[in-house]
């Protein structure tokens, strides 16, 4: 597992992907940071929130090759025929991408350091937003890992994760629309004689259920500086679940291939 972790992590820096991702992230973070300078104060929580808005572009780029590349280049045979645990390999690849993501995010503590060195204060909200950004990134990387495990083509893998991550930003919109749809349908076809208040309650329930799968909903409290354990538990659970599904997909594809 460590061998694959090291290989995957170093592979980012043998190609332009690692360097470009770090540079792009630092550039965008730096742009946000410097735009506050003329105002004489810095919104560090805002920087994390701002950077979270570009994850749906950056994460697919760093995860697209994790498994798709192995199949394309024929190195998956080495993975399958070596005395290694396949679940460990999948985890190692996920952790390698996560490590690169953490490196990219070091730009935020660096900016915090600059703020502190000039006598500024980094509050709980800034730290909360930073942690929320890392947790959100970890979930997105798990989505990207799963997309890469699902296809042999890097571009298709990137497109799948890009679409899923982009749509994930609008889950609350879909939730609201589903609520309205459910309320109007139940109202129009009220065969069970349900009261209007109950119909509204059902609508709210549907909206809440859809919002529950949205990581943003869980991370809201962290973004405003309130530390609670459930958001961390939710994100880590989703990471584990998606990485496990990726592992099962790799296993399944191995046994069903027409080689």
């Amino acid at each position: 597992m460590i061998a694959y972790y090291k290989r995957e992590f170093l592979a980012y820096f043998r190609s332009p992907i690692g360097w470009i991702s770090i540079a792009l992230y630092a550039l965008i973070g730096g742009f946000f940071f410097s735009s506050w300078l003329p105002l004489g104060r810095i919104d560090m929580a805002g920087e994390s929130a701002f950077l979270s808005g570009i994850l749906f572009i950056i994460i697919p780029i760093i995860t697209m090759r994790l498994f798709s590349e192995e199949k394309k280049s024929g190195t998956d045979i080495l993975m399958y025929t070596s005395p290694v645990n396949l679940a460990g390999v999948v985890t190692a690849k996920y952790l390698a991408a996560l490590t690169l993501f953490l490196m990219m995010n070091m730009v935020i503590p660096l900016h915090m350091l600059i703020v502190i060195s000039f006598g500024g204060r980094v509050d709980a909200m800034a730290w909360g937003a930073f942690i929320a950004l890392i947790l959100l990134g970890s979930v997105f990387i798990a989505v990207g890992t799963l997309a890469s495990a699902a296809t042999e083509n890097q571009i298709v893998s990137a497109m799948i994760s890009f679409t899923v991550l982009l749509l994930s930003q609008y889950v609350y919109v879909f939730a609201g629309q589903f609520r309205s749809l459910a309320v109007s349908l139940l109202g129009a076809l009220n065969v069970f004689g349900i009261e209007a208040s109950q119909i509204d309650g059902i609508g709210k329930g549907i909206e809440k259920a859809i919002n529950w799968i949205d990581p943003y909903t869980h991370l809201e409290t962290l973004f405003i500086g309130m530390f609670r354990f459930p958001p961390v538990f939710f994100c880590v659970s989703v990471d584990v679940l998606l990485v496990f599904v990726a592992y099962r997909l790799i296993e399944k594809r191995r046994w069903s291939q027409n080689g």
Partner: protein, 317 residues
């Protein structure tokens, strides 16, 4: 060493392997011979744990590949048809990575990599990125990764494909060297390669075993008769009559007549050696023999014969 029992593999509805069974002994060099699509690579992929079989078992030193995959995989070094190489790594980095995969203790890694580099003669490119190497070097790096960890069994799928003649000779010599310490299975559709290297040959045709034997025994098995080629320095019409008169000769065929030199092919019953009688008969008539050789069947003849027979049987059904 390796036991393969009733191995069957389906890809959807297509049967790739049909009830294949054979054993491989310790330090044996076994050749898998068959046309493209015969099932050689499928068989090798199952042996190495890359694919599962639909039914049947594979065991190495008593360990079943499905029940104890990690142990079996640690005993096998595998070079697939396309070497599995990370193109972005240097040769040395890649081999160290393979050492880690094969759980070679850290303190031995450098030594083992150095040994393997010199064994496959790629020391001079150890620091180069694999992407920039020639096909021949990449093939050798592929062999090097198979040798890491000193596995008891080596499986090479078409190890000389795409190499130039000099590289082919080098790879064949390397495989012969490795035989001293390893059990080796190689696949090839190059008949001469199998014939020159292997102790035993398994001929696979349409997923079934068409024949298993030594290259020599297969020649004998397929040959209904022995053939003797003889060139005589004479233009006499009597030569063929004299040859027909030799005991054991079943047929005489004149092949060539040129500048008072005659060439014949003599057919005899299998196992009958008539060379001495031929010599005496020709010498007695004052006809010098310029050339005399036994025409053994090549593996190509055997292969075509066996596969034709198998095809005919299939058609008859």
């Amino acid at each position: 060493m390796i036991e393969i029992k009733r191995l069957t593999k389906y890809y959807g509805d297509k049967m790739a392997l049909n009830n294949v069974s054979f054993d491989v002994k310790d330090h044996e060099l076994l050749g898998l011979l068959g046309p493209n699509g015969a099932g050689k690579s499928t068989l090798m992929n199952i042996l190495t744990g890359y694919l599962s079989s639909t039914s049947g078992t594979v065991s190495v030193n008593g360990h079943d590949i499905l029940e104890d995959p990690t142990t079996v995989k640690s005993m096998i070094g595998y070079l697939p048809e396309n070497p599995p190489l990370y193109q972005d790594m240097t040769v040395r980095e890649f081999l160290v990575f393979v050492c880690e995969l094969k759980k070679v203790p850290r303190e031995f890694r450098e030594k083992i990599v150095a040994e393997v580099l010199s064994l496959v003669k790629i020391y001079d490119v150890a620091g180069r990125v694999i992407r920039n190497l020639s096909k021949g070097y990449k093939q050798r790096v592929g062999m090097a990764q198979a040798l890491i960890g000193n596995p008891e069994v080596l499986i090479f799928d078409e190890p000389t494909i795409g190499l130039d003649p000099k590289q082919i000779i080098e790879v064949r010599n390397l495989i012969r060297t490795l035989k001293k310490n390893h059990t080796i299975i190689i696949s090839s559709h190059v008949l001469a390669e199998i014939q020159s290297m292997c102790d035993r040959v398994v001929i696979i045709y349409e997923g079934k075993i068409a024949a298993i034997n030594t290259p020599l025994a297969l020649s004998g098995m397929m040959s209904a008769s022995s053939r003797l080629m003889i060139t005589v320095d004479s233009s006499s019409e009597r030569v063929s009559d004299v040859l027909r008169g030799i005991s054991g000769v079943t047929r005489v065929s004149r092949i060539r007549e040129e500048n008072d030199v005659l060439q014949f092919e003599l057919f005899t019953d299998r196992g009958t050696d008539i060379r001495r009688e031929v010599f005496s008969a020709m010498a007695g008539n004052g006809w010098p023999i310029i050339e005399m050789r036994v025409n053994e069947l090549s593996l190509e003849d055997i292969y075509l014969g066996v596969t034709d027979t198998a095809a005919r049987k299939g058609e008859a059904k």
